[in-house]
């Protein structure tokens, strides 16, 4: 089961944050097809948000074909976003961690690291490499 959290300062609408977090968890293989998402009441009780926000997020996930509601039971994952590349995540994560410690040793702060990472991703996708 995944747990949601909200970032009030992100500027992203709360329902979109819930959708993103589900997509993220699917992408990383943290939840799989058949897994149940937290019930509306569970989400509401942990985040103190409006139930309609959760319903809207789940509706959106249904529209995206990622989840389906079974009336009276709950909402379940129907599609995964992780693929064969999931197996490669482990080694890649290690490489990235090594790179991160190198960056920190070089004196880069969190913000510089993120900026650098994003910049490289953007530049390389612009070149059509990624």
């Amino acid at each position: 089961m995944i747990e949601f959290h909200l970032d009030a300062r992100s500027g992203v609408a709360p329902y979109q944050q819930v959708v993103q977090q589900v997509r993220h968890a699917l992408r990383l293989g943290l939840i799989e097809v058949g897994d149940q998402l937290p019930t509306v009441k569970e989400v509401v009780a942990s985040l103190a948000i409006n139930p309609n926000t959760v319903l809207k997020a789940y509706k959106e996930l249904e529209n995206l074909g990622l989840a389906a509601a079974r009336p009276g039971i709950g909402t379940f994952v129907t599609k995964t976003l992780s693929d064969d590349s999931l197996a490669a995540h482990g080694p890649l994560r290690q490489d990235l961690q090594r790179w991160l410690s190198k960056a920190r040793r070089a004196g880069l702060g969190e913000e510089s690291i993120e900026a650098l990472f994003r910049d490289v991703v953007r530049a390389s996708s612009a070149q059509g490499v990624a």
Binding site: A13, L47, A48, N50, P51, T53
Partner: protein, 296 residues
Amino acid sequence: MITVLEANGLSKRYGHKWALSECTLAIPAGKVVGVVGPNGAGKTTLLHLAVGLLQPSAGSISVLGGRPGTTAGQLARVGFVAQDTPTYAGLSIAEHLRFGAWTNPSWDQKLAEDRIEGLGLDPGQKAGKLSGGQRAQLALTLAVAKRPELLVLDEPVASLDPLARREFLQGLMEVVVDHGASVVLSSHLVADLERVCDYLVVLVGSRLQVAGDIDELLSSHHRLTGPRRDRGSLPRDHQVIGESHTDRQSTLVVRAHDPVLDPLWSVEKLDLEDLVLAYMSRAVKVDRRPKLEVRS
């Protein structure tokens, strides 16, 4: 549309002072409504009119299709938690529940007991010994256990610390899921309401400034910045809520249902707090204008 609260020219006067002036609104059922505004804006007056504690000086109000507070049936359909969540200090929690059962025909004792247990409270405890957060939860329990269709809460979290505030709002949202009640709650802090509400009512200086679905409000308000321009140059369907100018730049907050396409403006979304602030400062300016004219 089924409305939970409908007001037409609703006004309330104390002596010479209007606490609420010509308020007209229709709030759909099934919403969690936030009533915001600075202290003295008329929030409590509006809520007291809605539960029948006050009678209008002019205009009319109907709640769940009936006149507030007129019949026992109407009273049973509306739960009210007054400001600072009052309880009887000398009575225990169990005695509060017994009192609730005795005064409310639709009382759900099991719901009340389950809620108290879920909160980890001892029924034998005197209300005077409870923390602010626990007292607020007791007051909410009393209002919920009568199984109202509408729950009205006046500044329920204003006096609570951040943790108790969060716990109270969690409890309130669970009630909404479990019983499908509509909720109207007031606060002078937008941040308190941002997550829980899906409908907003802004009151300033006894007047209604804006009311509507929060998603709809957020998508129809924009902040425009660009080279200095007169507001007269805007399309007609743009309603200017706020404006400020330097000698080179203009910043406007506008309400427009269609996207703003003029390439001279850079267009930004507003968050809820900015939106409320724009209406608040507009109201203050309007209020000042006549006084300035009198002096000149």
